[in-house]
């Protein structure tokens, strides 16, 4: 959406009060929604109390549950038999007649428009300058379904959807505690949207909560459509490759972050939760981390670490070894490489770049391609590019292996931001390797580690609690058995329990 300067002026014009004049009030609403050009605004005239009380009901099509309007708003109105003795019709309607969950008395046109847009229905009565807004909201949404990105073998199989209310309900079901706080704020000056900030009081650090709220408040823009855009507004480093926030589509993972003292941000139209602050480890750990048995999860962690290193370094190390440090390769392998390289006309750097880019293109195409013709990608990628490029002497077969293992490893890293970081870093290291071999690669490694360890996400160091070191119950590189993990928020001093222990009941099987 582009910015329309006139629209912000329209908003201020809406700020007028309702009057005693029934027709005038109706005209105000009509004008605000450009009725009758705009057919979304639905009206329903009614008269109750044997014709002594008449009014009009407004709602926007597609934002309300029509049966609720019928049964909880219209029906009680028609069944009304007595006029109140003190003559305060609005109070009576609001307090004892209408059956919806929330009722609001409204005097300003702006509030009326806001409520209508959010799915309330609005009742204007003759000779009253107060309108009543009743909560009948029901926007279309899909049902809660299985996660599509963060898949697990063992663990809950539900994911966030585009409705914030449903997402909050998914979280509430997991944390049944009164300390789970949900603060709502609005972002976007012209087309405002609601952001919900969730945390557990007493666990999340107060300073941190304040900082996050300040950041959200400080956003000055016309519209923020969803969380992905909000993320880019509140992240710590815009131009850095290293992410400072995390998105998850799994309520269980979000809950575990909540319990760890992180802060969650939710928005409508966003089937995920935004988590701040994060460390490298929260990006590295998977959703399944706590569900698997001790040995299994640590096995997976070793695999993931290896995968990260392979994904970053394989092409650059191959390049360095085959151009600068040939003596490190066993002679047989060296001869094999030399034999296959002999017939390839281009330098090894361009070989790698060619195939790496092809792989990245394949990957991007795989995401964008319509799912009907999806399988073609596999055939084109594997058969034509892999097999044919080698047979055409464009690349040597060992490069295909290098790129394939690199690509495969990069899929192990689930978090999208970390994944991008690793894929982009890989190219950086390829160029450095071509330039200076191992010397260059490892000077760059030292600099990269120095850079990453100096980063902070909302004041939490990126590598904590490893560097700077402090005691962490959950384990960062390797996980401890669950019964040894006291639930200690990793950057907070508070803790729920002093000590946990393995329940030793009954006979032991050892």
């Amino acid at each position: 959406m582009t910015k329309e300067p006139s629209s912000s002026r329209n908003q201020t014009k809406n700020d007028s009060l309702f009057t005693d004049d029934f027709q005038h009030n109706i005209t105000l609403i009509y004008e605000a929604f450009s009725y009758p050009t705009n057919q979304s605004l639905k009206t329903r005239q009614f008269s109750a109390l044997q014709g002594t009380m008449s009014g009009i009901l407004f709602f926007l099509e597609g934002t309300v549950e029509e049966t609720t309007v019928e049964t909880h708003v219209m029906k009680p109105l028609y069944e009304l038999s007595d006029k109140p003795e003190d003559g305060k019709v609005v109070d009576m309607l609001a307090n004892s007649v209408l059956l919806t969950t929330a009722i609001r008395e409204i005097v300003r046109l702006q509030d009326a428009v806001h409520d209508l847009l959010n799915g309330n229905c609005l009742i204007l009565l003759e000779n009253e300058k107060i309108a009543i807004s009743a909560n009948t909201a029901s926007f279309e949404k899909r049902v809660v379904s299985e996660p599509t990105v963060e898949n697990v073998v063992r663990g809950p199989k539900e994911a966030f959807i585009e409705s914030m209310a449903v997402n909050q309900s998914l979280l509430r079901r997991q944390v049944k505690d009164s300390r789970l706080i949900c603060e709502n704020m609005t972002v976007g000056d012209v087309f405002s949207n609601e952001v919900s900030i969730m945390y557990i009081k007493g666990i999340a650090d107060d300073k941190l909560i304040k900082e996050v709220k300040q950041k959200v408040e400080g956003i000055q823009t016309d519209v923020i459509q969803n969380l992905s855009i909000l993320e880019q507004f509140i992240e710590s480093r815009t131009y850095s490759l290293v992410p400072s926030t995390l998105m998850t589509e799994r309520p269980d993972r979000a809950t575990s972050f909540l319990l760890g003292g992180h802060i969650l941000l939710l928005m409508n139209n966003s089937p995920y939760a935004l988590i701040v602050p994060i460390t490298f480890w929260s990006l590295f750990h998977t959703a399944e981390d706590q569900y698997l048995r001790w040995a299994n999860v640590n096995f997976i962690r070793i695999i993931s670490i290896l995968a990260i290193f392979i994904a970053i370094f394989t092409p650059s190390i191959y390049l360095a070894a085959s151009t600068f440090h040939v003596e490190m390769l066993p002679p047989d392998l060296l001869f094999a490489i030399a034999a296959t390289r002999e017939i390839v006309p281009i330098p090894v750097l361009w070989e790698i770049i060619l195939l790496e880019f092809t792989f990245e293109i394949l990957r991007e195409a795989g995401i964008r391609i319509p799912s009907v013709i999806g399988p073609t990608i596999g055939i084109v990628g594997a058969l034509i590019l892999g097999q044919a490029a080698v047979q055409a002497n464009l690349v040597s077969p060992i490069i295909v292996i290098v790129v394939a293992i690199t690509g495969l490893s990069s899929f192990v890293i689930q978090d999208l931001s970390l994944n991008f970081m690793i894929r982009i870093l890989r190219f950086l290291f390829i160029f450095i390797a071509n330039f200076m071999g191992f010397f260059g690669i490892f000077l760059a490694v030292a600099c990269t580690i120095a850079y990453m360890s100096s980063l902070k996400s909302f004041n939490v160091p990126f590598f904590s609690p490893l560097a700077p070191y402090f005691h962490s119950q959950r384990g960062v590189v390797f996980r401890k058995p669950v019964w040894k993990q006291a639930l200690v928020p990793f950057f907070s001093n508070s803790r729920y329990k002093k000590k946990v222990s393995n329940p030793k009941v009954g006979s032991r099987d050892d």
Binding site: K207, M328, F438, G440, A446, I449, A450, S454, A467, N493
Partner: protein, 364 residues
């Protein structure tokens, strides 16, 4: 939370920093220098140097604890502004010369052993550039980087022993006293400023969380450094034998060339990697200290802007030396000169402190 973000380092980070200061000595020309005098018993020299340097270190530790102030603050308050500035200049000179000579030496090793076709200035600029980048991100960050990498560094360094075990023969360290105990003691004392940085590290005291962290951090790192150097010198003698070991310029790099892991013959590339990372961190600490002392001498509030000029000056000055032999000679001169200063300095400080304290007590 965020208790960690006060800019102070703790014992783990400090230990790691000291490890990167000292353990790396087993990979550079220090063993070579020591073998010249210590012969086959040269491995005793680091231990003697450590023992000699430990005394002034403890004296300084006592003064620092008493005043709860860093070296710089102590020097200025005890010696006055003018002499203080001069002492800062002296320290700067020591650390800067060490930076300049050592970094040039390292570059020469890279050049000789791995990149014989690459011009020295090219390698030199890259090495110092990386160190500058690390140093520029602050001491806290040097500490964190060192701490993340230090377990891996020690592991890779020590695992080398298993790769060269077949050539190992421990009898070669005999006769145990080498050229004689008196020579060892004398040379160990003269060369004790191979551990002179321990004294200069007191300047970082204000950046350390608490006194205990400083004491433990420096001592642990130092002991690991001494033990590693002595241990690896035993290995060098046991593998290359005396007198051949004297004539090997870079024993560690030679060792990595001999190492085999199954069918993989040459492991030196892996050790090149380790060594590259370690030297980048090593020189970042030197750069940081040099900038720190210079800023104190000039009484500047910020010293980060000094890092770049010092790094540039280091490259320019380092390139003056024509080859590694000049570099080695310079290094020996530096070690011998700075030994006197660094060993005696804490005692002078202690004496003045006693004198002033006495005067104050009398006045009170």
């Amino acid at each position: 939370m965020i208790r960690v973000n006060n800019g102070l380092i703790r014992k783990r980070e400090l230990t790691a920093i000291v490890i990167f200061l000292y353990v790396i000595q087993l990979m550079n020309t220090t063993p070579d220098t020591l073998f010249k005098f210590g012969k086959n018993a040269a491995w005793v020299l680091p231990i003697i140097s450590f023992a000699v340097m430990l005394i002034p270190f403890l004296v300084l530790l006592y003064i620092v604890k008493k005043h709860d102030a860093g070296l710089v603050e102590l020097v200025f308050s005890l010696l006055g502004k003018r002499i203080g500035s001069f002492v800062m200049f002296l320290f700067f000179l020591i650390i800067f010369s060490a930076l300049m000579i050592n970094s040039r030496n390292y570059t020469d090793v890279f050049n000789t052993m791995f990149y014989s076709k690459t011009p020295v200035p090219y390698l030199y600029v890259m090495l110092i550039g990386a160190s500058f980048y690390i140093a520029n991100r602050g001491l806290e960050n040097i500490g964190r980087t060192a701490w993340i990498l230090c377990p891996l560094y020690l592991f890779v360094t020590y695992i080398l022993i298993f790769f060269i075990l077949e050539d190992f023969s421990v009898e070669r360290i005999y006769p145990i006293a080498g050229p004689g105990l008196d020579v060892l003691l004398k040379k160990g004392t003269t060369y004790s400023s191979i551990y002179g940085e321990s004294i200069l590290l007191f300047a970082l005291y204000p950046f350390v969380h608490k006194f205990k962290d400083f004491r433990i951090g420096v001592l642990y790192g130092w002991i690991i450094g001494v033990a590693s150097l002595a241990f690896f010198m035993v290995i060098y003698v046991s593998i290359f034998d005396f007198p051949a070991v004297q004539d090997i310029a870079y024993p560690f790099q030679q060792l990595t060339r001999m190492a085999t892991l199954g069918t993989i013959g040459h492991l030196e590339s892996i050790y090149l990697a380790t060594w590259t990372v370690a030297s980048a961190i090593h020189f970042s600490i030197y750069l940081y200290l040099a900038a720190f002392f210079l800023s104190k001498m000039l009484k500047l509030k910020e010293f980060e802007p000094l890092l770049l000029p010092i790094a540039g000056l280091c490259v320019l000055a380092g390139l003056i030396s024509p080859n590694i032999f000049v570099g080695n000679a310079l290094r020996e001169t530096l070690i011998q000169t700075s030994t006197g200063i660094l060993v005696l300095f804490p005692f002078i400080l202690w004496g003045i402190d006693r004198f002033k304290g006495g005067k104050k007590a009398n006045a009170g």
